[in-house]
Symmetry: C2
Subunit: 135 residues, 2 copies
DNA sequence: CTTGACTTTAAACCTTACTATAAGGTTTAA
DNA sequence: TTAAACCTTATAGTAAGGTTTAAAGTCAAG
């Protein structure tokens, strides 16, 4: 198995070398070995692991959650049910965030529709609404 | 006009006194005056301004954007068009965030549906997908 | 053998919106 | 009078996910 330096791996994945050291601190990715002088050496498995991390992140998992998934993934005796549960919790979390944003957007869109865009701020219904005394 | 201390105002609005000092540093809210001993004294306008800030925050504006809105609001010669533009930009921003979350959710939901929840992680389609080599 | 690219470490810095702390001064109620 | 509650300032910490820097060590090429 050929090994590569941190810079090579970082370039391959399209990520900073500092990020790899950061992931190592978080326990997400450990180099296969170190040279006598202390340089990190990574194998092919590292690149695969990094792609896993990036995919999971793209799906909305935090690094902490990714660590959890990796731990499950690393342990062949762990149950698929746990992975499913983590995924379901994440889906519910994302749904809540979407709902909050949709509410925000609707509030803004209502105000925006009322504003002609003409005149001075004294007649601006958006500011008037933000200044309203009632909830 | 009666004035109140920072603690009274904070309690009235349901916010920490530290937050009011923070807002002052950000230029969002200046006390009407100071006592000889340096205590901040706020008038009724401060409470109105704070409710403005909280409403705008609830609509998804960052404090920096709220400052911008307040500056427009404070200047009766500013145009309603600018407020409308700020609002539209915020709506577009929120829409993008919603779309990103919806994509995330769909990706996760697809994986979740494929997982029986039985067996060990070796047969888990969620982990398998995260480990896939192709994009 | 030297140059330049690369690596090492710890630590500070970035954003946002607070929150908490320390060390001291002020005001209020009993 | 005195304790509690309040106020002042500046500074630092929180979450999240890194980025940047500094000072030093290492490696390959010419």
């Amino acid at each position: 198995m050929q090994t590569m330096t941190i810079g090579k791996l970082a370039r391959d994945i399209g990520i900073g070398a500092g990020t790899l050291r950061y992931y190592e601190r978080l326990g997400l990715l450990t180099p296969a070995e170190r040279t006598a002088s202390g340089y990190r050496k990574y194998g092919e498995a590292a690149a695969r692991r990094l792609r896993f991390i990036r995919r999971a992140q793209a799906l909305g998992f935090t690094l902490e959650e990714v660590a959890e998934l990796l731990k499950l993934s690393d342990n062949p005796r762990a149950s698929a049910r746990q992975v499913k549960k983590t995924t379901q919790a994440k889906i519910a979390d994302i749904e809540q965030r979407i709902e909050a944003l949709v509410r925000m957007k609707q509030g803004l869109a209502t105000l925006e529709a009322q504003c002609s865009g003409h005149g001075h701020t004294g007649e601006c219904p958006i500011l008037a609404a933000l200044n309203q005394e009632d909830e």
